[in-house]
Symmetry: C2
Subunit: 418 residues, 2 copies
């Protein structure tokens, strides 16, 4: 078997360079390749121009032994990857009957007429191995050329993912000998990168040379990833695991989960363990906390529902906030947000409620309560806890940050329950 290859991901499309589309494919591919121990050496995004695609292919093969290409396989005129690849490998397109049958079946299933442009998608370079695409009309293509593997896939994320999982990853594992690599991910919330790094510095200094800690900040916290690469010694996974207990002790109050778990999913586990239900009463976050909770598969086991109370009448009628409270203290106040959380508990009959009220901006601020002023509250059968947050990085980030803080308030208070 061949030694482990470096991989280059090449994404093709003017829409990436113009910034009309965010490339989420590369991150997913990087994760999946990392899981089987393959290193991504570079990600290159290039235009739809044939000469620039060819220049990028020439460079990629000097850096990597596997080049994974996405994009430029759609049915429309600005997609030309297939033609460029055929020319690059000195071959021509020919009808690939099994791919045509796949395309026909897709149109039959959705009961739509098949167009000539879709039929054209079953024409493939003669020297490639076709990789089935059971969820779309553009098959993947696997080329081997002078020791380098080139794979071309459509840019539509769920089609690319299916071809990667079904075909590309298994084929790469057959083709190459892959050395061990181990990762541990520790998810923290509520502290910034600098603070954590200062706390962790001594521990980090004593790590062996084949282990490396990466700080992956997100809005409201930091994900820590410890990676151990092959050093020729056995038990890599155990040696990685042995480094973790002191780290856990240092970051304890901020550590909400290990592995690829969202904060909402971690809270879901806590709720299920305690047999508790939750609901949200949201003003400024506008349903985003409910969305984060219900994004988690199986959340119907503990999430009952929410009231999004943007207008004050909704706060009064659906959540039982006192009109006097709104008049005296305003909608963005400790008193209101406490009543929202407590009112939701009563109205929906949930064990735990979390509530938000604030000024997400850009309008709506005042001298006393500028944009970026937020109140959040947590309520259960025994206590109601409220917190003020000052944070302004624009409406969308404000909503996201307050949502994370509200979920963290639940995480911090749940353990006292039951």
């Amino acid at each position: 078997m061949l030694p482990p290859p470096d991989v280059e991901i090449m994404t093709i499309g003017d829409e990436l360079l113009y910034g009309q589309v965010v490339d989420t494919n590369s991150a997913w591919m990087g994760q999946e390749l990392g899981r089987i121990g393959l290193r991504v050496r570079q990600i290159s995004s290039v235009s739809d121009r044939a000469d620039e695609i060819v220049a990028a292919l020439d460079l990629a093969r000097t850096r990597a032994q596997v080049v994974l290409i996405t994009g430029g396989l759609g049915p429309t005129k600005d997609d030309l990857t297939k033609h460029v690849l055929a020319r690059y490998f000195g071959t021509e397109l020919a009808l690939h009957e099994p791919s045509l049958r796949d395309v026909e079946q897709i149109f039959a299933r959705f009961n739509r007429p098949m167009l000539e442009v879709n039929r054209q998608q079953a024409f493939l370079p003669k020297t490639c191995t076709a990789l089935r695409n059971p969820v779309g009309t553009a098959p993947g293509m696997w080329f081997e050329d002078q020791g380098t593997v080139f794979v071309s896939m459509p840019g539509v994320p769920f089609e690319m993912k299916r071809i990667m999982t079904d075909s590309v990853l298994p084929r790469l594992q057959q083709h190459f000998h892959v050395p061990p690599i181990e990762h541990a991910v520790l998810q923290t919330v509520g502290q910034g990168e600098s603070f954590l790094a200062a706390q962790i510095a001594d521990w980090e200094d004593q790590l062996p040379p084949n282990m490396k800690l990466a700080y992956l900040p997100y809005l409201g916290g930091v994900r820590l990833r410890l990676t151990a690469t092959d050093d020729g010694q056995p038990n890599l996974r155990q040696r990685l695991a042995a480094q973790l207990p002191p780290l856990r002790a240092i970051i304890g109050p901020y550590l909400y989960a290990e592995g690829e778990v969202s904060l909402a999913a971690a809270i879901g586990r806590l709720l299920q363990e305690r047999n508790l239900t939750i609901g949200t009463a949201e003003s400024c976050t506008g349903g985003y906390i409910a969305h984060k909770i219900t994004e988690v598969a199986g959340s119907s086991a503990y999430f009952l529902g929410s009231v999004v109370a943007y207008h004050n009448d909704v706060k009064v009628r659906q959540l039982g906030v006192q009109p006097d409270t709104l008049t005296q203290h305003g909608a963005v106040s400790e008193e209101t947000v406490r009543q929202m959380a407590e009112g939701l508990r009563t109205q929906l009959g949930v064990d735990v409620a979390v509530a938000t009220s604030g000024i997400a901006g850009p309008g709506g601020g005042s001298e006393a309560k500028p944009v970026g002023t937020f109140w959040i509250a947590y309520a259960d059968a025994h206590q109601t806890v409220a917190r003020i947050i000052s944070f302004d990085r624009g409406r969308q980030l404000n909503i996201e940050y307050v949502t994370t803080q509200a979920l963290n308030l639940v995480r911090q208070n749940l353990p006292a329950l039951g």
Copy 2:
């Protein structure tokens, strides 16, 4: 002045290659550069290894006259861009007093103790021009080296954006002569790329050589972007605009807006023009429709609130769904979703309501109602309209798709109102 440069965006960080972080910076930068008429030639994401950064810098300067670098400027140990750049340009780091004062002020503002690692961030390569970062601790750096401009910025999106807007874009416009470029964006919803392409083909064929149509599909629709590049003739914008009327006629039923406008924002405009209010009653979408509506600044002018009714008791008590209906037809049924929409109108006193109920998966399906079965309803004072949707590409995409369809149902029915 110098002729218009090609730009290369270089993002640095193992976290991008491992796929732990999605690169949203490049898309934003591409959009802003496109707006001032600069073309992004390539986006390259490389590792934290010094030799690979240097190799990428060497290549970038052969392709582009401006290299914009993000990442690797944080305070922690895995960030080393600054040191590599100092060596690459044959200089060394020195304390930059104005940057130190900026860093000190940031810590004073947040009332946090400043750490030594943060002080280190004010050490910059001697030959660079420091670009102020008013929202973070890592300044930007502008280098000019043998005719190529290199700019290094932190990878934290809101810091990078601030430095780009305040410093980099104005400096590039001063430095280079930029030819005209014009874009028109037409936003469609409710049809796929192949179908639209077939409808548009004849119109596309008659476009002059300096104009190009790009199809930018998203889940539930396609954004069309027509770009006109400089052909030496005057009135580029007018000539671009003159191409649009026949295109509008072809895609009329699917065209929801022109320019960078979300579907939710377009509906917001329709509601405001008609002086109408809206609310949502959501089961399977779990608050995501409310979130999309409230993501729009100023949405409090027409959005009153929502009930997220995951549990049947919430559907009955908060929305007035008849228990008999749930027993006879189930929660995922035309009858239930109609009552949810109508009930929300009554309960919240909104003019327009939209409701969803379905099986987002992966669990919860049955033979009669498999995962991917969704009902959506629209209700106003005059009518209630319901639609069934069959769609299954996994929980998260299902939620997103149904949300788009529900908003489109509002768009299609609103014009009949008032």
